[in-house]
């Protein structure tokens, strides 16, 4: 088993520009069942000579049974793409796009309430399930190993780092979910922690946080009341100055709660294992399990 994806997952791709098409090919090579692409002006064409284009998400769903979508379209058009995927009742919508206005994300999060679709991201690397050879997004497949560690993270590259270290110690990942670096995003730590807790294949959870906001504190609260599995965590940005946006729109220390030290404190308090040195995630997991 795995979370969010399963062997019936059929993926449609929205946005096959330079990056999108490169990543689409990587996904297909990895084993993902990519069934269709969406582009209003490329109807009746084929991506890589085999994957059909459709004029709308709805049509792609009707014709190819797609139940998950990934979005690589530029930020000004990303909101519309997300809304279109929500309207087509996809199970999962993964938005890789970075730099979506926060007002747009606010609208999207209110719109998606009680809809069927689960949104991952934006500004995220997506999801990967090594056992299924299935990924939606840009996490490099070659560093993964099927296994029992679930990863949930606000940072893309730190997710890769954690994956690589886990694989290097001979262990593997159940599912890895990048929830994105924007202050307002789809699935939260709490949503993913809940899924990992319920997933029999996941034995331990790696949580990767960073400065800004209070989402790590919410995660801590949830872990305290609802998570029985061991949680290993790291928080990036202990040395970041306050008030400056550190790349991610969400990584700004505004107020005490946004400090790495506060987040570390909150998570330690509820029994999560802290990896102070990022390079020792693998080691820490080995010690615990």
């Amino acid at each position: 088993m795995t979370i969010l994806l399963d062997k019936n997952t059929k993926v449609l791709i929205q946005g096959v520009g330079r990056d999108g098409s490169f990543q689409a090919i990587k996904s297909i090579e990895y084993g993902t069942n990519v069934v269709s692409c969406v582009h209003p002006n490329r109807k009746d064409q084929f991506f890589q000579e085999k994957i059909p284009f459709f004029g709308s998400v709805k049509e792609a769903v009707e014709k190819t049974g797609a139940n998950a979508g990934v979005i690589y379209v530029p930020a000004p058009f990303a909101m519309d793409a997300i809304i279109e995927q929500i309207d087509a009742d996809l199970d999962v919508c993964v938005c890789i796009t970075e730099g979506i206005p926060i007002h747009d994300m606010m609208m999207i999060k209110n719109y998606i309430k009680n809809k069927k679709t689960k949104l991952i991201g934006p500004n995220c690397p997506g999801i990967i399930s090594p056992k299924l050879n299935l990924k939606i997004g840009i996490i490099p497949g070659n560093i993964c190993n099927p296994g029992n560690i679930g990863i949930v993270s606000r940072s893309g590259t730190l997710t890769y780092e954690a994956i690589a270290q886990i694989s290097e110690i001979g262990m593997g990942q159940s599912t890895c979910v990048g929830i994105g670096g924007d202050p307002i995003h789809g699935l939260s730590y709490v949503d993913v922690l809940k899924m990992f807790e319920e997933d029999p294949e996941t034995k331990a959870i790696v949580l990767i946080g960073e400065i800004g906001g209070t989402k790590e504190q919410s995660a801590a609260e949830y872990i305290n009341n609802n998570v029985s599995k061991p949680v290993i965590f790291t928080i990036a940005g202990s040395t970041a100055p306050p008030g400056k946006r550190m790349g991610h729109a969400g990584a700004v220390i505004n107020g005490k709660m946004g400090l790495a030290s506060e987040k570390i404190l909150a998570l330690k308090k509820v029994g999560a294992y802290h990896t102070e040195d990022l390079s020792k995630i693998g080691e820490t997991i080995k010690q615990i399990l």
Partner: protein
């Protein structure tokens, strides 16, 4: 993006918010004329992208146009250092002159997007003029919040309850109600991430007067706010940060560092700073070259790094996802050759096309120190520090 106080006032005035009479000037002569036209007694305020101007001596109540002129002469074209600017301070090129307001009471009012409730939230405090963070810590009971609905906007029934708590003089709360409604409209129509009125004062005639205001615009929404983009003042930015922004690079200059960092991914860039610090060195910057990166961007990133004379080492830490390591490597080699850089370069590179990337680096004449993983980075930095 931050804008100046006088620009923020203009923006709010377009949404029917009334301020005391005020005008901006760039020379002591202009300041003198404005002050004179306002009757002499005025407040003169340095226009920089930072708070804390009052305590830093950038704001003065002047009793005459001559005093205003003298004050502005002292301040204009100097760098004002406040508790929020860092040691370099910000260049004062303009000063803002306003008429005097007779203050009976000072409040605080702001609107921002709260990532937790995922909606716009108004915050009001009974203690204006102060740092809201400090009031929040010391006097929680005097801070009130009101969530807005992203779809419905301000709900009148909530607004009624919110303004009642402020206990303003007068029969109705019509002034504060319309102020709040106008702030909301300005916030939504300009893609703001913050509008702050501090202080918001009650004057001697029981009128509600916004004395100072700060507006921050969502950087990610500037593509659809071309008019606002024109308000950008690059003289208020770090030169390197400005250059980085032009190439869509996320760069933050850090004071006192000696390791120039170039990383892809914000999280990894922060973690790299953390690791550098642990090794006894100090990061000279945060630099995320981003996901969708190309050779030109990498070259410019390298140029920015090397232009920082304080750095002794270059640390490149890449885990390629969208970005392709080989392209990045090509960019580094080209920029390194172009600049004839001799500084040692520690490189950790994994992910998409990383094998071919390393191939390119190894076949170049870089002063290269290869790290196979993140742990190696620390070790290599320690070694370099020892051998220096």
């Amino acid at each position: 993006m931050n804008i100046h106080e006088y620009q923020a006032r203009n923006m709010l005035e377009k949404h029917n918010i009334k301020f005391p009479k005020g005008k901006v000037g760039s020379t002591p002569k202009e300041i003198y004329n404005i002050a004179k036209s306002f009757g002499g007694k005025v407040v003169v305020k340095a226009q920089i992208h930072s708070g804390g101007r009052g305590k830093a001596g950038g704001v003065k109540i002047c009793n005459s146009a001559i005093e205003a002129k003298e004050f502005s002469k002292k301040i204009i074209n100097t760098r004002l250092i406040t508790n929020q600017t860092g040691p370099e301070g910000y260049l004062v090129e303009k000063m803002f002159v306003t008429e005097i307001t007779d203050i009976k009471k000072e409040l605080y009012l702001s609107l921002l997007i709260d990532p937790d409730s995922e909606c716009p939230v108004f915050i009001a405090s009974l203690h204006g003029g102060m740092d809201i963070e400090k009031t929040a810590e010391s006097n929680q009971a005097h801070i009130f919040k009101m969530n807005c609905d992203p779809f419905l906007g301000i709900k009148p029934y909530k607004l009624k309850q919110f303004v009642a708590k402020l206990n303003l003089p007068g029969d109705d709360n019509s002034q504060i109600v319309s102020l709040i409604n106008n702030i909301y409209k300005a916030f939504i129509s300009n893609d703001c991430s913050l509008i702050e009125i501090n202080p918001l004062v009650i004057d001697d005639k029981a009128n509600l007067v916004p004395l100072d205001c700060k507006i921050t615009i969502d950087d990610d929404a500037l593509f659809r706010n071309k008019e606002i983009l024109k308000l950008r003042d690059i003289n208020q930015e770090n030169t390197m940060e400005t250059r980085a922004k032009d190439y869509d690079l996320a760069y933050v200059k850090l004071t006192g560092g000696n390791v120039g960092c170039m990383v892809n991914g914000a999280g990894l860039a922060m973690a790299t700073m953390d690791i550098t610090t642990k090794s006894g060195c100090y990061p000279a910057n945060f630099l995320d070259v981003g996901g969708s990166t190309d050779k030109e961007k990498i070259k410019e990133a390298f140029r920015i790094l090397v232009s920082d004379k304080e750095i002794k080492y270059i640390l490149i830490n890449l885990f390629a996802g969208i970005a392709k390591a080989d392209l990045i490597a090509e960019g580094i080699v080209e920029a390194n050759n172009e600049l004839n850089n001799k500084l040692p370069i520690i490189v950790s590179m994994r992910g998409t096309n990383s094998e071919s990337g390393f191939e390119i680096l190894k076949n170049s004449n870089l002063n290269l120190h290869v790290a196979n993983n993140l742990g190696d980075v620390s070790k290599l930095l320690l070694e370099l520090e020892k051998t220096k």
